[in-house]
């Protein structure tokens, strides 16, 4: 047991994990977090607290994670390499651990040019892979990146992201394997619409032994409209929204309902894929959809299953 908390326990026990996403507000009001946590509580084993997602300034993921903990929900704190150098990152990792954070998702981060501060300087002192290695060493050696000893190591369950849809496709599983090698315990994938391609990716992961060494949570997200489907298909790099999905969204009378249905179907399909240990539901600014999705998919969060079992 590395962290002794929910997500690791669920995945360790082989239960199917459900994670969701909670975006901190663009303001200092803690109530926003409290409200969102209420929507997600009981429907997910843990929730990702994003870190200036898409390079837009929000309440810090560490503070929001602490607020989430106070609501009895387990946070997966995201940390990007864009905004901090290795000093700040290590300081925040110690601080987060001290505040009770037990899951850390290591990301390179969206480029600052996407967000609301395109003039800012990007740091990228480390990238996601070297960040993973640094966190693992802080936990296991325990040593800081420079080699100095960490007096009280942070207990962290280390996660990362993987995108089966980016190019070059043959390298995606290899890159994930690098993250495994660097020290991750779990991974959440990019949003899946093209299940066939995801299956190919998973096959490569299995061949590389990735599935034995880390738990893979398939990323899903409900579409809200046909426009959103088209936008994601055409404008967002590294997204693969199939024509079929776009057509279904366009043809639907109730797009939100259809979006949730599609999401549920995808969850059902990926659940059957060998090596998938859970799902990560990204209902960004639509947190209430998570309950609906899990309900229609007949999914209970892993920790509940374990409790019940």
């Amino acid at each position: 047991m590395k962290s002794g908390f929910t997500l690791e326990r669920v995945l360790g026990a082989g239960a199917f994990a459900v994670t969701a996403e909670l975006g901190p507000p663009k303001g200092a009001d803690p109530q926003v977090i409290i409200d969102k946590a209420a929507l997600l509580k009981g429907h997910a084993d843990a929730v990702n607290i994003t870190d200036n997602q898409t390079a837009i300034v929000r309440m810090s993921s560490m503070a929001a994670a602490r607020l989430v903990i106070e609501q009895g929900l387990e946070p997966i704190m995201q940390m990007t390499c864009r905004d901090r150098n290795r000093l700040a990152m290590q300081a925040d990792i110690l601080g987060a651990a001290a505040l009770g954070v037990r899951n850390l998702l290591c990301l390179t981060g969206d480029h600052q040019s996407f967000g609301n501060h395109p003039k800012s300087k990007g740091v990228y002192d480390l990238d996601s892979v070297t960040l993973i290695k640094m966190v693992k060493d802080m936990r296991d050696v325990p040593a800081f990146e420079c080699g100095d000893e960490v007096e009280t190591p942070p207990e962290l369950f280390i996660g990362a992201a993987a995108n089966p849809y980016a190019d070059p496709f043959p390298f995606r599983a290899v890159r994930l394997a690098k993250k495994v090698e660097a020290g991750i315990d779990f991974v959440q994938t990019q949003i899946i619409y093209n299940v066939e391609k995801f299956e190919q990716f998973m096959e490569q992961c299995r061949e590389l032994g990735v599935t034995e060494r880390c738990r893979i949570l398939a990323g899903v997200a409900p579409l809200k409209s046909a426009g959103m489907a088209k936008y994601m298909k055409n404008r967002v790099a590294g997204m693969d929204v199939t024509d079929e999905v776009v057509e279904r969204m366009s043809a639907a009378d109730d797009a939100q309902d259809e979006g949730i249905d599609i999401c549920v179907e995808i969850i059902k399909r990926v659940r059957e894929v060998d090596g998938v240990a859970g799902v990560h539901i990204m209902a960004v600014e639509w947190e209430e959809a998570v309950a609906e999705i899990t309900s229609r998919a007949g999914l209970e969060p892993g920790h509940k299953v374990l409790q019940d079992g």
Binding site: H111, Q112, S113, P118, K119, S120, K121, G122
Partner: protein
């Protein structure tokens, strides 16, 4: 001018040892001027590699050729014959050169013999100092003609910091505090009041922080 310095030989030999037929390509522009990668240095490196390989019983061939600039398609096209049959190209150019060669000669491995060091000014013969970081938005019109981005360790726009002592930087007595020099120059120009204005924050998107840059000169295109 671009200043580049040679990689340690222990590294160069690591990535050249396994190869049989090596071409050392020199560059007779910036790295010639900074005395590290022009024709003379390329020849000397080739000689060194040959001696090393003979000493280690490695055999193989090491030849050398130098072009005026490795960062021009036309010049590196001229290498076609020299590259023929090579299994490794070792470039003594700044790190633009090996990339250009790697793109031009798709089937040959290209490795750098150098590290691009800086954009520098010669201070005395054989010594260069960083003067520019190609930030894309020059501010020296506000700073007495001296760059606080390239020459201040903290890239301060409103220096000097509390570490300035006797015109030296807190990171090392060998490093000039450019903000001391900026201050002195502005005083000399009667522009000291300008330093009371708050500068920045600046737009880093025009630097590398905005992503890899390209530049196209407007006007006639053939």
């Amino acid at each position: 001018m671009i200043v580049a310095k040679p990689k340690p030989f222990r590294k160069i030999k690591q990535f050249t040892d396994p190869y049989e037929n090596i071409l050392v390509v020199g560059c007779n522009t910036c790295v010639a001027v900074c005395l590290t990668g022009g024709e003379k240095e390329a020849e000397q490196l080739a000689s060194k590699l040959r001696l090393h390989r003979r000493h280690q019983g490695l055999g193989g061939t090491v030849d050398t050729i130098t072009v005026l600039r490795q960062c021009e398609h036309e010049y590196i096209d001229e290498l076609k014959e020299a590259v023929e049959g090579r299994d490794l190209i070792l470039s003594t150019a700044c790190n633009i050169g090996p990339q250009a060669l790697a793109e031009r000669y798709e089937d040959v491995r290209v490795v750098p013999a150098m590290n691009t060091n800086m954009l520098g000014m010669v201070k005395e013969h054989q010594t260069w100092t960083e003067y520019c970081v190609a930030c894309g938005d020059c501010v020296i019109q506000y700073t007495g003609g001296l760059c606080p981005i390239a020459r201040c360790a903290k890239e301060l726009l409103n220096g000097p910091c509390g570490g300035s002592q006797d015109g030296r930087c807190e990171i090392s007595p060998d490093v000039e505090c450019v903000w001391q020099s900026i201050h002195d120059k502005m005083v000399r120009l009667g522009m000291a009041d300008d330093l009371k204005k708050i500068l920045g924050p600046r737009n880093w998107s025009w630097s590398k922080h905005g992503g890899p840059r390209t530049f196209s000169k407007e006007g006639f295109k053939p």
